[in-house]
Amino acid sequence: MGNWERLVWNQRHLLLDGLVVTVEICLIAFAAAILGGLVLCLVRLYVRPLRQVAIALIEFFRATPIFVQLLWVNYVWPELFGWPGSFFTAGWVALALQSSGYLAETFRAGIEAVPRGQREAGLSAGMSHPLVFRRIVLPQVLLMVAPSLVNQFTVIVKSSTLVSVITVQDLMFQSQKIVNTWLDPIEILTATAAIYILVVFAVSALGKALADLLRRRYGLAAS
């Protein structure tokens, strides 16, 4: 038990600092992924001239491994675009890229599932296209895709462990720092794995409960 106290409990401030960074980078990446996914999806559906570009981007983001994207954004983007300027930014951008590709497809499926007649009813009541989208289509799509959103967030949390590779000081980074300091990986790595498993489990359980609640509240069948 001595090791647990020395290597895990006494290091709790480091681990907690790391966990805060993990939470930050995941939330920022998630918000960016939702925004990016929505834009990609809307361009693909409604902006004719850019449709092929959107499809190419979506497929590229989906089919490229997250680790490769991370290194690509980190090493190549600053030279190409002069941005991102920090490892932290490179980390959430890469996480967001991958998820935005998946979310774009999820949103598209949701939008296409809203019956056409509802849109026509809105238009014939004199609502503008953007208004119909914002008031009639989007709320239903968000309800429908709620479970996929939660799932995508768990994917982001799991992938976020990789940002430690580009020295973002997240939970995985701190944990490996402790390993390198004390040269005794058993307790600290086991604790780290347990923390991640519990966090991901809690997120998906809470998210599922929330998604079901929303769906029941608005009269849609739970999935």
């Binding site: 497929e59 590229f60 089919a63 490229t64 491994p65 997250i66 680790f67 490769v68 994207q69 290194l71 690509w72 090493y75 190549v76 030279e79 190409l80 675009f81 002069g82 768990t154 949390v157 799991k158 992938s159 976020s160 462990t161 990789l162 590779v165 995985m172 490996q176 390993v179 990986p185 058993i186 790595l189 086991t190 780290t192 794995a193 991640y196 498993i197 519990l198 991901v200 489990f201 998906s204």
Partner: protein, 233 residues
């Protein structure tokens, strides 16, 4: 910007090191094949536990699924590589070390067995009970019913989702470079250190993986769909 773009898309370095990079890519496929086999076998085992009639076994199956489905790939790879040999070593009283390749296969196999187990379970539970009873009424033992009646249908039903999971697994094989399995990403970073030209090398790696995953996934999806429709037309 345009100079940087030209440099990023310049295939010369990538071509120069093609032999070593291709060898690296082969390692991605080795890891993928071994981990996929392990994941399928372990996943089927866990799924059978989860539909078992004994509660304790169902519990064990659920625990397996929840642990590995919720564990990040990278954390599992690191844990299996650096912790598991130490624990086993303590148990048998001898120093133990895993070769990186073995650790990678065990870790990815375990993580993806969690996903496959859920897919298998959903497939198994979608088979109408009557078809199983028809087998029993013909005097078929349960094991024969499993192999001849249940699994062939489960495989067809789970195919689209399984393809997605195979794609994820292949993409996940890129992280094994972090425990020094000499895959494509590992070789790319080695060459980068030597040549100091990250732009074309990392861009080339990204495009290579994209091309493989995109083409393979499209082909497999099309083939799987045709195969399925042959029976359920």
């Amino acid at each position: 910007m345009s100079a940087a773009l030209a440099e990023a898309l310049n295939p010369a370095v990538f071509w120069e090191y093609r032999a070593i990079l291709l060898k690296g890519l082969a390692f991605n496929f080795y890891v993928f094949a071994c981990a996929a086999a392990a994941a399928l076998i372990l996943g089927l085992g866990a799924a059978l536990l989860r539909v078992n009639r004994w509660r304790a076994l169902r519990w064990a199956g659920t625990l397996h699924v929840e642990i590995f489905r919720n564990a990040p790939d990278y954390v599992m790879v690191v844990w299996i590589h650096f912790v598991l040999p130490l624990l086993l070593g303590l148990a048998i009283g001898r120093r133990l070390e895993f070769p990186p390749f073995l650790s990678a296969v065990i870790a990815l196999g375990l993580v993806y067995s969690g996903y496959f187990a859920e897919t298998f379970r959903a497939g198994i539970q979608s088979i109408p009970l009557g078809q199983i009873e028809a087998g029993r009424a013909c005097g078929m033992p349960e094991r024969l019913i499993l192999w001849r009646v249940i699994l062939p249908q489960v495989v067809r039903r789970m195919l689209p989702e399984a393809v997605n999971q195979f794609v994820s697994l292949f993409k996940a094989t890129t992280i094994v470079s972090l425990i020094a399995v000499p895959d494509l990403m590992y070789q790319v970073s080695m060459v980068t250190q030597q040549e100091m030209r990250p732009l074309p090398l990392y861009t080339g790696a990204a495009l290579t993986y994209f091309a493989i995953v995109f083409l393979a996934a499209s082909l497999v999806r099309a083939a799987a769909e045709r195969w399925r429709q042959k029976v359920y037309a």
